[in-house]
Symmetry: C2
């Protein structure tokens, strides 16, 4: 096929330690408070996306994710396409010899390297990869910060996946969202020994699920306003300092408190939204037991809009954190890789945990289906590995 243009990237998942919840503008995904996340390693969790376009494509814009055709007519995807095309158009207008890619339909193919069933928020990596891949295809000179404004319109937290390491998302105050952008607090190399173990709650334990709705929280929670206006701004400052100082105790305490604060506003929503269940509570108990044993905070839980626990810790404490989870959950899927095999099951700490919170240990064994071991990682990476072949067809 002549005149086929292609570009590929991978993009990471990020897990917030200061949570995004609540929109001041639902259309532009402008948040009611700033947020901050850790970008996770793409060796473990990433979306790989190839964007292509060709004047010969007569079938309109399309997106295939994990082998399945997706609807691209939604306002969020359309906003990303429209904004990226407008930037390409500007380039084309300024340099008349450039091919008019902005006028060609887009064909996008995307794959995650982690099971959808894991219930990890994949939309952040997905929209970051989509935006980055099209920006590469269009050879846009835009910075990650500029692109973050576009990715944000796809999925709020996607804006943070355009950077590696420790990433903030400034809420901004302008109506057009031009100052609501992601920024890098510190690169992964600044504090490279940050690790995370993700405890994936089994489908059977995801009972009594709630329909989520951050806008319902904004509308009905009487406690939400003070979280957005007072609690989070203070924690954003403290968290950035903790990261600059590589102060895990502060990092961990703020992470845990902010996760609890977010879930508290969910519970204060009417009708209440519950994401944490008895398995999540068991994970919290084990983390509390690990920290009590250590006499300081060496493990920090955080929960997104679901029951899965993400536990951050530093590599030097692997035996006392991941090792305890391996002692409890060693039979579960996820320890097979090189990293997982290297983790030594810590039975002494487990004995302590059983003595402290034996019921929690049982609840965790029963309720967790798999674990994912990972750590802080880099932002999107351009790749030559294309998911679209030279004929313009998906490679698999």
């Amino acid at each position: 096929m002549s005149e086929l243009y292609r570009a590929s990237t991978t993009a990471p998942v990020n897990i917030a330690v200061i949570k995004y919840w609540g929109k001041r503008d639902p259309k532009l995904n402008l948040p009611t408070n700033s947020s901050l996340s850790v970008t996770l390693s793409q060796s473990d969790l990433r979306t790989h996306t190839t964007a292509s376009c060709s004047p010969n494509n007569k079938s309109g814009d399309s997106l295939i994710l994990n082998g399945e055709s997706q609807d691209v007519s939604g306002a969020r995807t359309q906003a990303c396409f429209r904004e990226l095309r407008a930037l390409r158009k500007e380039l084309e207008d300024s340099k008349s010899d450039l091919p008019k890619l902005s006028t060609f339909p887009l064909k996008i193919v995307s794959e995650n390297n982690f099971p959808t069933a894991a219930g990890l928020a994949s939309s952040a990596a997905g929209f970051a990869a989509l935006v980055r891949a099209i920006a590469n295809l269009y050879e846009l000179p835009s910075s990650p910060t500029d692109l973050s404004k576009i990715a944000r319109q796809g999925s709020g937290s996607a804006c943070r996946s355009l950077f590696g390491g420790y990433v903030g998302w400034e809420q901004g105050s302008k109506d057009d969202g031009s100052d609501s952008v992601a920024f890098q607090v510190a690169p992964a190399s600044h504090w490279p020994n940050m690790r995370a173990v993700i405890l994936v709650v089994s489908a059977a334990k995801k009972d009594v699920s709630s329909t989520s709705g951050m806008q319902t929280t904004v509308a009905t929670s009487s406690l939400f306003a003070s979280r957005a206006s007072e609690t989070v701004p203070k924690r954003m400052q403290e968290m950035q300092k903790a990261i600059q100082d590589k102060d895990f105790e502060a990092f961990g305490k703020i992470s845990m408190m902010d996760s609890n604060s977010f879930h508290a506003t969910c519970l204060d929503t009417y009708p209440p939204i519950f994401y944490l269940n008895d398995v999540s509570r068991a994970a919290i108990k084990i983390v509390e037991s690990i920290n009590a044993s250590a006499g300081k905070i060496i493990a920090a839980y955080t929960f997104d809009a679901g029951p899965n626990a993400v536990v951050y810790y530093l590599e030097e404490n692997e035996k006392d954190v991941a090792g305890v989870f391996k002692a409890v959950l060693g039979e579960k899927e996820g320890w097979a890789g090189e990293r997982g095999q290297a983790v030594e099951a810590n039975s002494a700490a487990l004995d302590k945990a059983i003595a402290d919170a034996g019921i929690a240990v049982g609840a965790l064994e029963e309720g967790i289906s798999r674990i994912i071991l990972t750590g802080v990682g880099e932002g999107p990476v351009k790749t030559e590995e294309s998911l679209i072949d030279e004929k313009g067809e998906p490679t698999s």
Copy 2:
């Protein structure tokens, strides 16, 4: 035995619909916010207390609860004894022919008509009965409002058990607590058809328990201040109006929102305090399903510092509320009484609940050990039935 003085009373349990959580003065039990409760019928839940004294008693103050000797040296019990004796002393000083009861040791015997294992906050009924019985013994002219200041020092929520019906507790602002008193919003006769079904969570399901601590919430929750200063004052007004107007929809909505708000501040405590578990969440789901079926709020859940659900409803909706719980939980203890037998199991509503929230139905069946059917009731009642015989000994 010559010169034995005795007086007996019963006192009710109350379950708050605007929750008390947080003290501005831990010694005097002065709260950070006002609260409001429904006094429950003493046919179902009551403490029966006899207070006695005699100059021949040489063994000091004593208290026997459910046949077991209790420690009376604690500051809370001592405060009640001291304040009541001071009031008696005033009387004795003004009328010199009165026997000097204030100088005699007190012997108190108390019994609950409900199992302690039910995990119902019995301290409210207990201290209300203790204060009321001693006030009767001393023939104090004090009003229930005056006595509420004393009972409050025994256990905060005890002050509300000195009245029947719908009862408020004004937080007050004075340092000495003299304006932190209970008051009757409306007698039981004003809105007599208010019913409640209490779902008692089985001990096995009370896992991963937390050490409570309302003072930890005050100290660490960033959301608590706005609950105390803004949310509750507004709801106190709305709730009093709902009761005056016998507006169950408003009563129910505020009750559910305030329960959620209270538990949200517990979750926002560091370390977090969890009282609701997956069984509690299942009860919430069933109530939501009942209300969805009715197209309006006919059932309202509320949770104290534990997983047990209290569900308020009006007698005319018994089939659609208690009837659904009977359909799910008909095999459990608690339906044997006249009231319980009269409840018709509502299988149609149950089918709907199973379709809506089948997992919740299963969780409830598995996690609830017994139910208690009750309704709004009267305040303390003087009784001739004495738990202390004429020789000054416990009758059983």
